[in-house]
Symmetry: C3
Subunit: 269 residues, 3 copies
Amino acid sequence: MTGKAAAGIITLLTDFGSEDVYVGVLKGIIATINPQAQVIDLTHQIPPQNIWAGRFCLMTAVPFFPAGTVHLAVVDPGVGSARRAIAIQIPAGFLVGPDNGLFSGVLSQTPALAAIELNHPTYWRTHTPSFTFHGRDLFAPVAAHLASGTPFLEVGSAIDPASLVTLPDLFFQATNEGVTGVIQAIDRFGNLISTIPAAAVQDRHWSVQIHDQVIPAGQTYGDSTPGEPIALIGSHGWVEVAINQGSAQQHLGCHWGEEIRIVLDCHNQ
Amino acid sequence: MTGKAAAGIITLLTDFGSEDVYVGVLKGIIATINPQAQVIDLTHQIPPQNIWAGRFCLMTAVPFFPAGTVHLAVVDPGVGSARRAIAIQIPAGFLVGPDNGLFSGVLSQTPALAAIELNHPTYWRTHTPSFTFHGRDLFAPVAAHLASGTPFLEVGSAIDPASLVTLPDLFFQATNEGVTGVIQAIDRFGNLISTIPAAAVQDRHWSVQIHDQVIPAGQTYGDSTPGEPIALIGSHGWVEVAINQGSAQQHLGCHWGEEIRIVLDCHNQ
Amino acid sequence: MTGKAAAGIITLLTDFGSEDVYVGVLKGIIATINPQAQVIDLTHQIPPQNIWAGRFCLMTAVPFFPAGTVHLAVVDPGVGSARRAIAIQIPAGFLVGPDNGLFSGVLSQTPALAAIELNHPTYWRTHTPSFTFHGRDLFAPVAAHLASGTPFLEVGSAIDPASLVTLPDLFFQATNEGVTGVIQAIDRFGNLISTIPAAAVQDRHWSVQIHDQVIPAGQTYGDSTPGEPIALIGSHGWVEVAINQGSAQQHLGCHWGEEIRIVLDCHNQ
């Protein structure tokens, strides 16, 4: 473990949207410090200041990037307050951003090897950073330096990974009759992604209950009649509810955080 | 014809939107397999599962890319069903995606030199791909391999190009009085793009009739008074109706698929 | 001063949106001419044909890019009319686009070292460019050539920088009681960005008056109670009004161009 970024890849996840030039400015900063870096957008459409949504998106994207990737994430309602600016080393690379739980999804799936507080102004854009745009003045410069091979422990002071802010783990519970969870995300297609992992239903016959409606399980969208809801293991690895050529969110009138229940059929295992 | 990608460019066109990390994940996969690839987004705002819109966008973008470009397109309502995963070799490069007609617009303008079914799991992300996200597990890996020079016929088994699914060619018809077509696309500016090619009106005096309104022809938006509709040959090469500093869609209340009629003035040729 | 682009970076700012493939086509053209260019999106969500919004976004992004960067901007309601196609050399690089005032914000902060009219078809995509898409046929090719080191004066004929179209400078005025300006931009977070520069309030105690509401000044969003408006020096360097975990635009019902007033407290300097 050298603590150096190998790939030169930096991903960006923010709630900056695409109407303003905030994201472009991050890329200008990165290109100024590290012209070789390859910058990849994860998304900039996190609902403003929604740490939960950012946490979910990061957690589902990080596993698909090469070793050494630097993931820069800025959903930062506490910018300019006492919340720490941090970087975390994980086996697959580095996480850079505010210490507000944004990375706790990733860290529920992979260990934090080390963590630092970003308090070395040498690696900032300016020694007097803006109070409102740490993405530009701290996080992007640090990510650019990490992606060009600056050793992890040079850009900040070591802190105890156990001290990092975490959001509570998302709820799911196995009972005698099945498994209960909540909707943790709804994607563009209106697919309802639950907190129930594939392992909870593996090799069993099962169906989903939501709003008193029973939804049969299948393998892919095409296993249902167009317009009819279907439950399946989504590409993220969680139980999801979808509608072939339609939106389950609209059809079922569901929201983030609503309960979703798996009914396991013991007779048909 | 070596059957190899020269440019190392991969374009992406999907209906994934920008709120989720699906597009970012495709790029992570590509960067893992082929770190040198240059990835260019065409659009990810194809209306969900609208193969017609994807077909139009691909057809209008492909001609502007360098030889050897790999065009990866995923608008895939039939994912996980019997529809084939395919790649097509064209003179300008390669097309990778589902066999559902998405490429039939491009193929109305350029020949398919060869086609393959993507049935060689060696070039997939995993031998047990997800039932719902072939973009991640099949198409992106294959595109990355093609862009790094893997020979076309290695990533799949040859199929007859004549067997590819096509959508019906878009309607336009010449009559004694003029030419009739439909609105095949409406862009961000509210410009109505018809199915009538420039050649149908070349060097003639003409006007457009839509909803009983007669719209005079001009060369550019500024040839009309702001707020007044004008017909012209759009940059795509089709007759379009626009409004200088306004939206023809809103002004005229038009939709995809509506009829549009060219009146040729024979006396003023 | 060699007049050559060093960085090979091209930024794009347009009102093309992300639903169509217009932006992708620009990138295809650039990749065809200059495969080494690194293309960075500033934004493509400028409201259609809103030169003022484009002017603001460019002005706030250009300072964060490395020397030699080519900034290609297309918000072009006069495309195909008599408006000139231009390029401007500034100390930090180059500006390419229509001569309609889009660059006048940048030029209020940095000098035009030289300017040219783009009338050398050798550097266009085609000698017979479209009447409606100069981005594709003129501006992108010229930007690609500049980014690959073609000397500035080769791609057009010198014009007098004093002849460039400018938009009027944005209003702000110091009075006995304080400073008056207008809202010049509203960002995704609903922050109201005024035309009043930080220097106007430096080291003074101050508050903002807008719609008869007095808003106290602070340093960062967290200095106010969630839901309460706060005035501060934004990351752009202008006075802005924000709401901690909310939208000042929605809360205060404000629009572009509305008056905003700084009250300076002389007793508490």
